[in-house]
Assembly symmetry: C2
Homo-oligomer: 350 residues x 2
Amino acid sequence: MNDNPILVEAWRGASVESAHRGALAVVDADGGVVLALGDTQRPIFPRSAVKVLQALPLVASGAADALQLTDEELALACASHNGEPAHVATAAGMLAKAGVDASVLECGAHWPFREAFQREMAARGETPGALHNNCSGKHAGFVCLACHRAGSTPLFDFAKGYVQASHPVMREVIQALQSVTGWDLSKAPQGIDGCSIPTFGIPLQHLARAFARVGTGVGLGADAARAARRLRQAVAEAPFMVAGTDRFDTRVMQRLGERVFCKVGAEGVYCAALPARGLGVALKIDDGNTARAAEVAMAALIEAFVVLDNAEAGFMRGLSDLTLRNWNGTAVGALCASAALRSAAPPRSA
Amino acid sequence: MNDNPILVEAWRGASVESAHRGALAVVDADGGVVLALGDTQRPIFPRSAVKVLQALPLVASGAADALQLTDEELALACASHNGEPAHVATAAGMLAKAGVDASVLECGAHWPFREAFQREMAARGETPGALHNNCSGKHAGFVCLACHRAGSTPLFDFAKGYVQASHPVMREVIQALQSVTGWDLSKAPQGIDGCSIPTFGIPLQHLARAFARVGTGVGLGADAARAARRLRQAVAEAPFMVAGTDRFDTRVMQRLGERVFCKVGAEGVYCAALPARGLGVALKIDDGNTARAAEVAMAALIEAFVVLDNAEAGFMRGLSDLTLRNWNGTAVGALCASAALRSAAPPRSA
């Protein structure tokens, strides 16, 4: 990552106070590179940005149809959610359809990332369980897939250890990830994700192509193409479920609908499918800053590659060029896409 | 900051997942450079890392003695505290000695940064006021200085607008900062800090020299040297006040006492005085990551430049090379000083 350019800058007064380097790729479904900045060949851990790819077997297998999963439930299977009451209830509902409860989950528990939701829970005297984990919908999806594959084995017994790479369910998930990215995961760098499932190092160009495929169906088998379309439509119908109140992914997809499927990942990763343009996007901020850096870079890429009307362009500009305020509400600076990023990917409406 | 080296790495499995670049300077009180990595000449905003420099007039003026400020209160004047009950009560006590209450404060209010303390407050039905602001002790110190300078003007009237660069109190604070850093602030980049006071761009080499001066008294006038010694001793006696539960500065100074005066600042800044070595330290992480990157780099520099026994070296290694665990408590990686930093500043005990 030595020569990656600065993608996002934090200004204070008239000075750049801090800056975020990174790499990004915008690619079509055939792997044609529309834009590449920085090192897009180095494998990076995509973390939660690829949840939609990991959810493909849930739909392609027929499990989602058999359990009559709703748009909300399929969106939650692709989510890094806020742990708000609706997210928790929807994850519990998925498990109920599979005939089990939250004790089957192996993702661990954490307080919601948003401090306001932590405070609300604390004020109600609550503590978090596995259903509050931002990945609980993804895990509930794995359990629904396990339900479809368990045969005559009781689901609790069959699902046990589903986070391990050797488990039949996780093998199916990993195979789907390998197939759609076209990257040999058996030779890839491997790590353990926050929710305990395996994560694999994959180059940004391969991730971007995978999202172009998810957005178009090109290069996918019939079942995977159908699953990708179903999942995209579900998230477009229920964007609250994929993230939640005040979150980038929810706000952007509430506003732009099926024109954008975007998904954040930990440590500064973002992936997106731009179906109308036939493009996929993948980016990684070197320093791992998701909340301010990766979001701003993703917003700038949407401005560059999605056809927006003036109001939509203004909305997106509010996510790529933000005023920073201090505790008194005084404007003290700005957070914005760098000149290098704007020059490589100028806004269409500019 | 284009060529700054990687100082801190976040590993997942056997791969570097994210990395933090930055610059640092270790300098003696005469400005002799012991170590410089990256661009140490570029002005950076030191933010809260220079609170001890901004507190010099409080002591040098005689205000602290006149109001009989305690070690706890002087430590709080140098603090970025957790907003825990003891911090809030101590800030209120300083204002009471000056004869006013929290309504004089112009720092704004925010929830404590540590989520656990937010939850505790929320569970008690509390919301934060200006006393909870991590800078409330610094501001209370400004008000105590104002009390000393107000003459026959009622303090509330005199103090009004003390956060502005043109106010007599802030002029005195800025003059102290300019004097100890030897940097012409009238020509420096200027911004507004989180708590609304001015912040000035100062090169790391000048900041490091200022901390060497604070640690030794060399290069300071008699009043400033006495003030620096008094503030260092106060923080060494009451390290809880400078930060709080589980915080780096509190833990390190509880353990190492007067051998280290270290202070964190927002956006990835750290400064330290190492009096026994006659050295000052200043570092800035390019991407602004304080909590994980700046702390790890500072810990590595303490390992390199402070004489530690084996137990102390082990304690510091626990702050410069940390195991990262996921929500299930599984070890998934490490956060550590980079090879570039270790090679330039090897641990003395290695």
